[in-house]
Symmetry: C2
DNA sequence: GTCTATAACGTGATAGAC
DNA sequence: GTCTATCACGTTATAGAC
């Protein structure tokens, strides 16, 4: 079944918006990428703004839908959740590496539209993951480090390599294959590093 | 001494470019922010593009000039350099939190202009920091983890909280004061975490 | 150096034929 | 549904008075 015109436009819009952002994207670029006429874009989506909102919501959804259930699982423990999250997220970012920077860039310029629609807060506060963390802290099984530090470390270690990719490529003449190999290694390392942070004796200097 | 007109324009341009990026910035916004007439912008800087290049080079310079010398010091050891870097960088990012996202966003859309002018590669390959790392690996004082992992972890842990700030604020109703307190804590924790990664027994699962 | 007025152009969107 | 042609507007940049 060949893609419909609507799908061709959405797919082209995703590509162009992801790489250039809203302001730098011309509707003509999208039409050209989709191999259709400019007028069709407005016929199907009314305006550039409407089309963008759809792509943005799709992008957020595609980035979070796969990993959210992990944090709400009852049958896995705290560190198993971290392992699953890191593996799945790196896998996702290997195929769509531009999405985080896309979201974060547009977020700075238009916070409300995005943040209002994504219940980050509820997600993290009410998750089983959060409960397991609090419980482990209370039982002194884990070092008492702020939950925010944990989230920042998890996100920073997992996502940042993809955001800073062009710089790392420049620093090391890294090829795409080498980069992917490094990301595969990180699937194993990041959970180990996180576990160390939370369980080892921490000697403040 | 009051700021010259040229300085007022540059300062306004920095503010607006940093928050909106090149494409979304209108020269009228800059003129208004600077409290001057639109024509003056072209009188002093010829074009929006030229003005942007100046701001971009300034931003890169301001983000790297303070931390680069650290990596080339002869008198400090490997872990002392990490401590100094983290402290200085977080301090810098507390006053200019938008610069990393600004650079990374524009980088994706226009890699050459930026990467050509910043010798990241030389910086890291020829640094004393890199030599100390290689030497410690050879003497088996450190776990043999790729240098890229080290750079990614260092950058991810330090910079990512500032890039993802709006999300963390949403997740936790974090106030600006609490965020700054967390960043102060990270000045101490990040070097410790990095040291653990490099020196502790790492049990692969 | 600084301003007002305006030229030149690009872009989002629509009208209307097919 | 899809196209060509065109409108309406905003934006960058400049001309020219002061």
């Amino acid at each position: 079944m060949p893609p419909t015109t609507e799908e061709k436009i959405k797919s082209a819009a995703r590509t162009v918006f992801h790489s250039k952002g809203f302001a730098a994207t011309k509707t003509r670029d999208i039409a050209k990428e989709a191999g259709i006429n400019l007028a069709l874009l407005n016929y199907y989506f009314r305006s550039k703004e409407k089309l963008f909102q759809i792509i943005m919501m799709d992008s957020i959804h595609s980035l979070f839908q796969s990993i959210l259930p992990i944090f709400f699982e009852e049958e896995t423990n705290f560190f198993e959740k971290i392992e699953k999250f890191v593996s799945l997220y790196i896998e996702k970012l290997k195929t769509d590496p531009e999405i985080p920077l896309f979201i974060l860039s547009e977020l700075q310029r238009n916070p409300l539209v995005i943040l209002e629609q994504v219940p980050f807060k509820e997600i993290f506060e009410t998750s089983v993951f959060h409960k397991q963390y609090e419980s482990a802290i209370e039982k002194k099984e884990l070092n008492s480090i702020s939950y925010y530090h944990l989230l920042m470390n998890l996100a920073g270690l997992t996502v940042f390599p993809f955001i800073g990719k062009p710089i790392f490529f420049q620093v090391g003449n890294l090829t795409s294959e080498e980069f992917h190999r490094l990301m595969e290694e990180r699937k194993k390392w990041i959970p180990i590093w996180i576990k160390q942070m939370l369980t080892n004796e921490l000697q403040a200097s």
